[in-house]
């Protein structure tokens, strides 16, 4: 351990130090200021240079990627924690800058109240919500507060991919910036008619941020009970964390779609992403690392998730928030006070941070790896409709039945055997009741596509490897929110109908055969 001190190699003051901290040191940037934070080994920054460095990095990440078009509606996913709070503050500051450097998108904030699964009493939740609202009012962006319980009233369409016409060319970006600037110089009515790729056909984006607020109706007691029932039924903390993340993503996506946001920004820091990368690998999500940890994540089609905080370490975030008074709300998470080995997430975090303490480039090395990953869908991206997607994480399925040599293949081929190759005649009656949101699992019992299978297999079939492994920790899938069960049923029916009519189709399309197989 003594090496740790040596690694830092700073001329640490020996003996009693007077109150001026680090009096022998100067900031590495301006060579004048008193350093307050060590960012990399030996790089000590003073307060002002640290601020400039931090703000520049945020803007550089956005500028470099050119994904966010001027006037576009962007939803900031704010958990109350340090990174996402810092992100909201960076956006707030960026919007109030002088014209040349001003951020030009239209932000809104979403906060998901997860109190029900994180062991908060109704009183604590109300208290947290008060704090949350206070901060949101200070920020002044339109905001949406949603209780996690609302997953029980989500529509099945949340789980669908909505294709979006490709926009992201260099030329398109420049043109959009140009027309935005023109409209800004034009009289005010121009602002209403911004044509922003991706938001067409949705609600008109508001020009200046108007404090639109949607607040969740307080969840009904029955929903809270159903949510607790679901999470209590999950056997491991690892699966609970994954499930929570899945449901949270669906809710944010739903809010984004219903309010016409075409981008969602999340506050994942570099440290978190490095931990997430290792965790995802351990969870069998290796195929999706580029989506799970990259700058942008297009898995939902119409709503793209971006991670503008991905170059800030948690240390930088914590220091910035402290030094510049960025407010955040602490809420216990699902793993608060859990021992280090309680879940894969927790274990990987401890592993990474301990390594980092001894080898200060650990996090950045892992993080750089995530930067190099290239998104290469199996069915090459251009023009080809995407293959079937995982019901839960919505990534293109990584299931390959031909690959039977590995444990992975063995598991998937076992599952594919549960699908009957052709349905027997009695199943040819119309598919059972249209999957009602109310009791979709009831559907599966009658004649129909899933008639002979247990509903569990019908859902598991539609998951990627990582999600399949995860669902093993749910003894019963019944407590899952209705939209998941309903969508599973709908997909099954669609596949079944396709299979039915397949023999009447002229055999020229590989796509359909492919879809029917799934």
């Amino acid at each position: 351990m003594c090496q740790v001190g040596e690694d830092y190699g700073e001329p640490t003051p020996v003996g009693p130090t007077p109150l001026q901290p680090g009096c022998e040191l100067k900031c590495v940037k301006c060579k004048e200021g008193l350093p307050v934070v060590v960012i990399r080994v030996g790089d000590a920054f003073c307060r002002n240079c640290f601020k400039a460095f931090y703000v520049h990095k945020f803007r550089a990440v956005l500028g470099k990627n050119r994904l966010i078009f001027p006037g576009e509606k962007v939803l900031l996913a704010w958990s109350g924690g340090p990174s996402s709070s810092s992100m909201v503050w960076q956006v707030l500051e960026g919007l109030s800058r002088d014209s040349a450097k001003r951020l030009r998108f239209v932000p809104g904030v979403v906060y998901i109240d997860e109190g029900a699964v994180c062991g908060q009493s109704p009183e604590d939740r109300a208290k947290t919500l008060d704090e949350v609202k206070q901060i949101l009012q200070t920020v002044g962006f339109p905001w949406h507060i949603v209780a996690l319980e609302e997953v029980f009233s989500l529509p099945p369409s949340v789980l669908r991919y909505f294709a979006q016409e490709p926009t992201g060319t260099e030329g398109a970006y420049k043109a959009a910036v140009g027309s935005f600037l023109q409209q800004q110089h034009a009289p005010a009515q121009g602002e209403e008619q911004l044509s922003v790729p991706g938001t067409q056909g949705l609600q008109t984006p508001a020009g200046p941020p108007i404090a639109v607020q949607t607040e969740a109706r307080p969840p009904t007691a029955a929903q809270t009970v159903a949510l607790s029932r679901l999470f209590n039924s999950v056997k491991t903390l690892t699966a609970k964390e994954e499930l929570l993340q899945t449901l949270r993503t669906h809710l944010i996506l739903h809010v984004a779609r219903t309010h016409g946001y075409s981008k969602v920004m999340t506050g994942d820091s570099c440290t978190r992403l490095a931990i997430k990368l290792m965790t995802s690998l351990a969870l069998g999500r290796g195929a999706f690392l580029a989506w799970d940890t990259g700058f942008s994540d297009e898995r939902h089609g119409d709503v793209v998730v971006v991670r503008p905080m991905r170059e800030h370490t948690l240390k930088e975030v914590a220091f910035y928030n402290r030094l510049f008074g960025v407010p955040s709300v602490f809420t216990p998470a699902i793993d608060t006070k859990a021992p280090e080995k309680a879940s894969i997430h927790r274990l990987m975090e401890a592993f990474m941070l301990r390594l980092q303490a001894q080898f200060p480039s650990t996090v950045s090395t892992v993080y750089r790896t995530s930067e190099k990953l290239v998104k290469a869908p199996r069915d090459s991206s251009a023009g080809v409709p995407p293959g079937p997607r995982c019901l839960l994480c919505m990534c293109t399925l990584d299931i390959d039945t031909a690959d039977s040599a590995t444990a992975f293949g063995a598991q998937t081929s076992h599952l594919s055997q549960t699908q009957p190759p052709t349905p027997p005649a009695e199943a040819l009656t119309a598919p059972c009741c249209s999957a009602g949101v109310g009791r979709p699992q009831g559907c599966c019992q009658g004649a129909g596509p899933c008639g002979r299978e247990d509903p569990r297999a019908c859902i598991i079939d539609q998951l990627c490897y990582g999600c399949r492994v995860n669902m093993k920790d749910l003894p019963s899938l019944d407590p899952l929110p209705p939209y998941i069960l309903a969508e599973a049923q709908l997909r099954r029916q669609r596949a079944w109908v396709l299979q039915e009519i397949q023999e009447y189709l002229i055999e020229d399309s590989d796509d359909e055969a492919h879809t029917a197989e799934s």
């Binding site: 001190g5 934070v37 978190r272 240390k315 402290r322 608060t336 006070k337 280090e340 401890a350 941070l353």
Partner: protein, 101 residues
């Protein structure tokens, strides 16, 4: 012989949960033979302030990786980490960056 010191100890980022949810503690460190440094302070905190699960806060003779230490709002790495000698009226802040505090 070091004189008693009055020091402000603060916890943030969820670390306060291990201290009954109290963030700021104004404490008086009794006089002792050796001068007070952070190493001693951690031992004192473990004995006097920490309410539960010490392993989530202290590991070995230092803080758990992922917990940041700020002395008078400056990074403790600039000040000698565990060897920094406390002065009267210093403020020491522990911020947890760990998930869930």
């Amino acid at each position: 012989m070091a004189a008693p010191l009055s020091v402000e100890v603060e916890f943030g980022g969820g670390a306060e949960l291990l201290f009954d949810g109290v963030k700021k503690h104004q404490v008086t460190l009794p006089g002792q033979k050796e001068p007070w440094d952070i190493r001693n302070l951690l031992v004192w905190i473990k004995k006097n302030l920490l309410k539960e699960r010490p392993e989530l806060f202290i590991q070995g003779d230092s803080v758990r990786p992922g917990i940041l230490v700020l002395i008078n709002d400056a990074d403790w790495e600039l000040l000698g980490e565990l060897d920094y000698q406390l002065q009267d009226q210093d403020s020491v802040l522990f911020i947890s960056t760990l998930h869930g505090g």
